[in-house]
Point group: C2
Chain length 140, copies 2
């Protein structure tokens, strides 16, 4: 069993949630996808193996997976939420033309939180970069 696999099982055990076949299927769909699928895309992938799953189940599974820290979610405006197995802080960019999402490597976001905190009386809980652009394929 891989380290990642073990980590997932640990997080389920600690949380009290059970790793059901539907949640497993959502994780598999995320692993097998090439990028940052939407709930709809995950739903379609899961449906191929088990046509009985409902879209609502996918949403609920995703919310559990996010809660226990197995997946990350990313929001862009005018676009459905994207999901991602990678829980390391990283920066994603979305193509405004085709919707494709890719990671921007070598961006140090670790200090974002600590760099902002001294400037606000709020207690920062979340700090993310939302980046949009035009991907090479769409630039033509």
């Amino acid at each position: 069993m891989s380290r990642v696999e073990q980590d997932i099982r640990d997080k389920f055990r600690r949380s009290g949630y059970t790793l059901t076949s539907q949640r497993r299927a959502v994780l598999d769909a995320l692993r097998d996808s090439d990028g940052h699928p939407s709930a709809e895309e995950i739903y379609l992938a899961v449906k191929k193996k088990n046509p009985r799953v409902a879209l609502g189940t996918v949403y609920q599974a995703l919310s559990v997976l996010e809660e226990i820290g197995v997946i990350d979610t990313k929001h862009w405006s005018d676009s459905p939420t994207r999901y991602d197995l990678n829980t390391e802080p990283h920066c994603d960019i979305r193509c405004v033309r085709c919707g494709r999402v890719d990671e921007i490597p070598d961006v140090d976001l670790g200090d974002l939180h600590s760099r902002l905190q001294p400037n606000t009386p709020y207690e920062i809980t979340e700090a993310a970069l939302v980046v949009e652009g035009i991907c090479p394929a769409c630039r033509t």
Copy 2:
């Protein structure tokens, strides 16, 4: 007439859009609000002076105002879009408990775009920070 006022008129003239009383009212509501109101809040403020305006009109006015560069929009997940007269790049933080939005001062975002661009083949069109936290009043 203030500099800001003149700037708004110029932007309308150049764009070809007309500065109607409804669009004027939306701008006034933004100016008189204490922060970063949602479309709904702007709608309610506008309605006080002219009860006949429709919510759809507010949305359309906001979209025109954004297009010609008079206002900024900010998106947080699980929350309606917020609008802002300030078009200088700046960083806002939203309270996850009460929804209040405040600016985080002294954050240099000017180089965000140029810092990210070398690391991606995308042509970056937009780079923003989305920050959430708990405001002093909600920390109790």
